[in-house]
Amino acid sequence: MKPFLEKHFGKLWLLVVFGFLYLPLAFMVLFSFNSTRTDARFTGFSMRWYEALLNDSKIVDGFFLSLKIAAVTGLLSAVLATFAAFVLVRYRRFLGRTVFSGMVNAPLVMPEVIIGLSLLLLFVGAQNLFGWPQRGMLTIVLGHTLLGMAYGMVVIQSRLLEMDRSIEEAAMDLGARPHQVFFLVTLPNIFQAILAAFLLAFTLSFDDVVITEFLSGPGVSTLPQVIFGYARRGINPTIYAAATILIVTVTVVVVAYAVWVARATRKREREMAAAIRG
């Protein structure tokens, strides 16, 4: 037994931890089909919770609101993250660089309570002074973007550092002005990273609870807010149904993306090998 453990320790550890990671997911998927409202045991197969889900207007409305907010956040975050990544990677020296770097990276680690609270104060203050903005979709987007920008920047910065800068010099040498260099050469080459940043910001926004709770207004309820409300009150397998749909969607998208990337990489490698030979 002991030599077996030692030899396969790594694989066992991976298996156990993966099991830990996926246990809640499996649990929810299974119990979303439970015929009764209990977490204790599986009493029978039923689709009733899916029906309930589609009929629950709060959930459905929340879903679409979250979608809208996440889409705008994603876009805004991707743009700002690109700017920020550019600044940090390309401009080595400027006034207040450390401060800038600190501010951009902080939302990655800061407790959301602090971010939510301070932004709320900003908006209330602005409202007192200018009568605007009202707390609602706009304020939520602004709060989420702070987070999305920080995460997105990590992705884009990484890609910018890898990118071969001589192609930008080549473009300038051939007559492209700096803004043309950016749009014609740099952007196409970091596009995948920007897309990843968008998706990351989108996901974070769609899933956010704390900042949303601080910054939302009356009559505005995002999907996480609805779920959070239900969750505090008790067991509701409708939520499991929602979870299952989400899990299936994410899995399909991620797997499809991974397969597509693997295929594209293999194709590219084949082409390069053929070029060297021929």
Binding site: M28, V109, L121, V124, L246
Partner: protein
């Protein structure tokens, strides 16, 4: 490139301006409000300084109330202090658990064949892409007295009665470790995957056992990753709000929840901001550590 590039001011200005407005300014306001005397007024925005008489109206009580219950009472014996300490303790434990579980995990992924690694990483990230709220909610069901885990343990004979796990330290820590595990794994993995394992082979060659080599070579080399990961878990965990709300009981209140209650239940905005400022003061040092080691990581490219 060393020639003056047009547009530099614009490119720096946009994100800088955004951050100053939505990050820096709110913090100043936070600080400001923590010194305000509300006194029954609805709006928390009152001037601190009276231009006519030149008197500064700083209400220190907002802070003092955090540290003592009343005039003359001993310091550091308030419920607030309790929740700060509890929060730090939970965050510390969570970070340690994440490290203990996550380090070997990241290590084994980094050591697995290059063709398998992307798939494994994908498997780690997949739960992260599904809603964190939902996954925490699932633990509510799993850890219930009549829940799956208890029933399983009773069924195989570990215990004859359901062990109360929900709304206790157990559920809190399980939930937090679960949620923050990927945050520990990723920086560790990023660091370990770049490590030259030939160094280990050299150590074996010189007579070290694998166990010793691990502690003498691998761990020190991954120091930056360990610290970055530790901070990435510890710092946000201190201010956690959702997990204590869903999986914790009244004795497990963390400071994030306390701030919330002061803000929206007691409507004492200055007190809430003072609590938040103290929270920031607590995480400033770990934050500095994070910046230092995360920066080191990035430079190791």
């Amino acid at each position: 490139m060393n020639f003056p590039m047009p547009g530099k001011r614009f490119v720096i200005g946009v994100p800088y301006g955004w951050l100053l407005l939505f990050f820096f300014l709110p913090f100043l306001i936070l600080l400001y409000i923590s010194f305000v005397d509300m006194g029954g007024d609805i709006s928390p925005f009152k001037p601190l300084w009276d231009p006519v008489s030149g008197v500064l109206h700083l209400k220190y009580e907002n802070y003092l109330d955090i540290f003592r219950t009343e005039e003359g009472a001993p310091l550091f014996r308030t419920l607030y202090i309790d929740s700060y300490l509890r929060s730090i303790w939970y965050a510390l434990l969570t970070a340690i658990f994440c490290l203990v579980i996550g380090y070997p995990f990241a290590y084994f992924i980094a050591r697995s064949p290059a063709s398998v690694r992307p798939a494994l990483l994908l498997l780690v990230m997949l739960p992260f892409w599904t809603s964190f709220l939902l996954r925490v909610y699932a633990w509510k069901g799993l850890l219930a007295d009549q829940g799956v885990i208890n029933r399983f343990m009773m069924a195989i004979g570990i215990t004859s009665e359901p062990i109360p796990m929900l709304y206790t330290n157990v559920s809190m820590l399980v939930g937090m470790t679960y949620v923050y595990l990927p945050f520990m794994i990723l920086p560790l993995y990023a660091n370990l995957v770049k490590m030259d394992f030939r160094l280990l082979e050299a150590a074996y060659d010189l007579g070290t056992t694998p166990f010793k080599a691990f502690w003498l070579v691998t761990v020190p080399l991954s120091k930056a990753g360990i610290i970055a990961g530790f901070m990435l878990v510890f710092i946000p965990c201190v201010g956690e709000f959702v997990i204590p709300s869903l999986l914790g009981g009244p004795e497990n209140y963390m400071i994030g929840r306390v701030v919330w209650d002061e803000m929206f239940t007691a409507n004492d905005w200055p007190k809430a901001t003072a609590l938040a400022v103290v929270m920031i003061a607590i995480i400033v040092i770990p934050l500095a550590f994070y910046y230092k080691y995360a920066g080191e990581q990035a430079e190791q490219r």
